[in-house]
Symmetry: C2
Subunit: 153 residues, 2 copies
């Protein structure tokens, strides 16, 4: 996602207004590697702007997605939003739900172009597994067993 100043210009260029609510979300989303849900952002935003509506958060996120400034990540449960629009992949911990950006090698070698009768636009790669912290918490056990859902990003 571009920085708040650039987004301000981009919104104005479309004849859209740049409200305090939008500016706040621009700031919260810029230059992070997290993958928050709409509600997580709503909670964060509420800290700095009490009274902001969850509806507005959804609205702005949808706008940013439509502008391709934000990507959506579907891993089940509520939608995650990804401000990192550079080509990258995701490592998802099945125990705690954390999503981490990873940059796998060998992605170019995928035979995506050879899918016939299909016009590819984007390739998404998600590696599910267990993160180091969860592996430490449940040593020598099935890591999916105790599902502690805290700290996911």
């Amino acid at each position: 996602m571009r920085n708040p100043a650039e987004l301000t210009d981009a919104f104005r260029a479309k004849g859209w207004k740049v409200t305090p609510q939008r500016q706040l979300l621009f700031r919260l989303l810029h230059d992070t590697d997290r993958h928050p849900t709409a509600d997580a952002l709503f909670v964060e935003a509420s800290g700095q702007m009490p009274g902001i509506s969850l509806r507005t958060v959804y609205q702005t996120l949808n706008d940013l997605v439509a502008m391709d400034e934000l990507h959506v990540v579907n891993i089940g449960g509520s939608t995650r939003f990804d401000p990192n629009t550079a080509a990258h992949q995701h490592a998802v911990c099945s125990a705690c739900g954390t999503i981490r950006d990873v940059y796998l090698s060998g992605v170019d070698g995928l035979g995506v172009a050879e899918v016939d009768d299909f016009h590819p636009q984007r390739t998404r790669i998600t590696v599910t597994g267990v993160c180091g912290r969860c592996a430490d918490l449940t040593p020598t056990r099935r890591p999916t067993g105790s599902h502690h859902k805290e700290n996911q990003q």
Copy 2:
């Protein structure tokens, strides 16, 4: 997913009953390359067994997923279920929502093992784009524009 007879044995081996509802779903799911939603299966099943409950369809699907006989596919919207448990990837049409199994080359070359402080279990690859049929229906246009949601599998 294994065939109905094998699933029958697997269920009995766990002390679970093999009801007509379950047998029907075993049949509907076996040896297909579709990726139906719970509701789509419910509609199909209702044709052959009027009165079957959507709740039962969900229940059975969840059981099969827990047994790893069925995989879930998250592409936004309702959960899709995948009876093809062999290693493969998906091509998703952004216009009609159809999910097609594809077998990309070069998957082994992905540097999945090198993700550090992470224990990988499974890698999911999804190519989004526009299928041939949708490309034909909207020639020389942005294919996402008119969203005709029929016929997705």
